[in-house]
């Protein structure tokens, strides 16, 4: 690791620590009211959803339109664990159960689905996502269309934040390993990947299953924050919302997904004063964003404070030197 690299690490770590403190200390001191708490938790849940979807859409390069379906599986599975087993540590266990249930669903769906390519895969994942919703609507034991109620509302900001940190950190480390490179190579050129010894089907399954796992965790967090679950909260539109976050952040950029998820969750809340115009502005913002930055906020790059500082510094010295040039001319 060279000096510039180390410096960048330190700066980014410091920024992360500052963000963590800004979020957790007020939470600890009960400085947030219920509304703010709700928005923050919801934002954290969405960050996990966007970052996990980014693994499939951004890194593997497959358009998936059923991510909300995995979230639903995780939400219901973890809720059922909480409702039926009163054991110590039941919350982490419930979340884990949600993640595993969603991962299992991902595996079952992935085996047939991942043989398809491109847009067909998108459509078939859409189909599966909707089927999950319709089936949930028709299981009376899970509350059906009348909602599942009475889930303990025990999701706290630190718990959700911890889940985000684990998810994001794993995405980073996995992404920069031979397994992450294998997944990227499939996005770049599947024929070249398999001709370079990459077991393509295995890595598609791995990416798909891990993404489903984290969607399940996010679902569990959501369930224990909302207290009630209705299948129609996990419809096609929700899947689309997560796709929008991933694309807007820049396909393949983990930090981009984090930022886009945070902004797109918080933005409609901040625009509440616009009342009726709120969603109109939101949709216009979406269109304009795409027109002016078709590759998303960050493209495939990762956000780095060190790099941003560097750019600011260079812009400043650049301005100064050009002024100096002009001075010499005069």
């Amino acid at each position: 690791m060279n000096a510039a690299n180390r410096k960048s690490w330190i700066i980014n770590l410091a920024a992360l620590a500052a963000l963590t403190a800004a979020l957790l200390i007020p939470a600890r001191l009960n400085m947030f009211n219920d509304y703010i708490k709700g928005v923050i938790t919801w934002t954290l849940v969405n960050v996990i959803m966007a970052v996990s979807l980014n693994l499939v859409c951004g890194l593997l390069g497959y358009l998936a339109l059923g991510h909300a379906g995995f979230m639903a599986v995780g939400a219901y599975a973890s809720a059922m664990v909480s409702l039926n087993w009163k054991v110590p540590l039941s919350f982490p266990l419930a979340l884990l159960a949600g993640g595993l249930a969603a991962a299992a669903a991902g595996m079952v769906i992935g085996i047939p689905v991942l043989r398809l390519k491109g847009d067909y895969l998108a459509i078939i994942t859409l189909g599966f996502g909707e089927i999950v919703r319709i089936i949930l609507n028709n299981i009376p034991a899970l509350g059906g269309a009348r909602s599942l109620r009475g889930i303990p509302r025990i999701t706290t900001i630190p718990a959700a934040y911890l889940a985000v940190v684990i998810c994001v950190a794993l995405m980073f480390t996995l992404g920069r390993s031979r397994h992450g490179r294998a997944i990227l190579s499939i996005r770049e050129d599947e024929v070249a990947a398999t001709s370079s010894g990459i077991p393509v089907m295995y890595y598609k399954m791995l990416a798909f299953t891990i993404a489903a796992f984290f969607a399940g965790i996010a679902g569990g967090l959501y369930a224990h924050n909302a207290g009630t679950l209705n299948p129609n909260r996990f419809n096609f539109d929700r899947s689309i919302e997560y796709l929008v976050m991933v694309v807007l952040g820049g396909m393949g950029s983990i930090t981009g997904a984090v930022i886009a998820a945070a902004v797109l969750t918080a933005l409609p809340e901040m625009l509440r004063w616009l009342s009726d115009y709120r969603m109109l502005i939101y949709s216009l913002a979406l269109i304009l964003m795409m027109l002016f930055r078709p590759d998303g906020l960050l493209g495939t790059a990762e956000f780095s404070i060190a790099r941003m500082l560097e750019r600011v510094r260079r812009a400043r010295t650049g301005a100064r030197s050009s002024r100096a040039d002009r001075g010499n001319d005069g």
Binding site: D119, I124, G127, V191, M279, L280, L284, I287, M290
Partner: protein, 292 residues
């Protein structure tokens, strides 16, 4: 036996509406490989415009419908110019997201102008029922299927026979080659969006007469189903869209009649999944293998 036939005919009724909407998806996809998520909302706009012209301007039905269809054709072109054209060379997913943006925009704009509460669609066309043997088919059903079939025949003839139609086929085969051969691809793509949107508007009017309650989100479900119909038949292939539409309509109607209303959507998606797994390019789709 009779109820079965009636269920099938009801299925063909709604299926012909799906088919008309599906044509728009499939034409646009065939030509520019874009899934146009705003297409479903064109249906909704078509219904609202026709409603306004009928109730506020008090125009006769034929004229109101005609204007509504024209408006939607223009809207289709507008969607193309805003959401697709500037991004023709950008990643495909970007234009997909802009069509989603346009979809949100249309829903919310209509919601602001007309209010989010559903409204009744005022017209009641009184067409006498048609009797075939012992069967009585409602006039509306008969007209809907007839209109849909006639339009599909007309469209097929347009694509086969006219210059513009040939240009459309050429662009869908190979955009660059078509351009080199002197096809004006900008016009061709715009015409494709316009025709697709106009057909969706016809579908909207037929849909609204059958389910006479319209709301800003009414386009979502028929839009999604029509999209699935297009994929089912083989996306990019026009007869496939028609076949897919009819198939979906009948499957839905039979499930509602014999199994359960709640599960009818699940059956529709189930059929989609089975078809894609057995024949990944859809029922009429050609298998395209990648050249290495």
């Amino acid at each position: 036996m009779n109820t079965l036939i009636i269920q099938i005919i009801n299925g063909l009724h709604v299926g012909s509406v799906y088919a008309l909407i599906a044509l728009g998806y499939t034409m646009v996809y065939g030509i520019v490989k874009l899934i146009n998520f705003a297409h479903g909302d064109v249906i909704m706009v078509g219904a609202y415009i026709t409603l306004s012209l009928l109730s506020s301007a008090a125009l006769p039905f034929g004229i109101a419908a005609g204007l509504g269809i024209l408006f939607c054709a223009a809207l289709g072109v507008a969607v193309e110019r805003i959401a697709y054209k500037p991004l023709r060379n950008a990643p495909r997913i970007s234009s997909l997201i802009t069509t989603i943006g346009v979809s949100y925009f249309l829903q919310n704009a209509v919601q602001m102008i007309y209010s989010p509460t559903p409204r009744p669609f005022p017209i009641r066309i009184n067409i006498p029922a048609v009797a075939i043997g012992s069967l009585r088919i409602s006039g509306l059903t008969f007209v809907t299927i007839l209109v849909a079939v006639l339009l599909m025949i007309a469209l097929e003839a347009f694509v086969r026979r006219t210059r513009t139609g040939k240009a459309m086929r050429a662009v869908s085969e190979d955009l660059q080659a078509a351009q080199l051969m002197g096809v004006n691809i900008n016009t061709t793509i715009s015409v494709t969006f316009a025709i697709g949107a106009a057909l969706a508007a016809v579908g909207a009017i037929l849909y609204s007469t059958a389910y006479p309650s319209i709301s800003p989100t009414m386009g979502a479900m028929p839009g999604l189903k029509a999209f699935i119909a297009a994929v089912l038949g083989g996306i990019g292939i026009m007869p496939g869209a028609m076949l897919g539409g009819f198939l979906m309509g009948v499957a839905e109607s039979l499930t509602k009649g014999y199994i359960s209303t709640q599960l009818s959507d699940a059956v529709v998606f189930g059929i989609l999944i089975v078809v894609l797994l057995v024949k990944p390019s859809g029922i009429l789709g050609r298998h395209a293998s990648e050249k290495v």
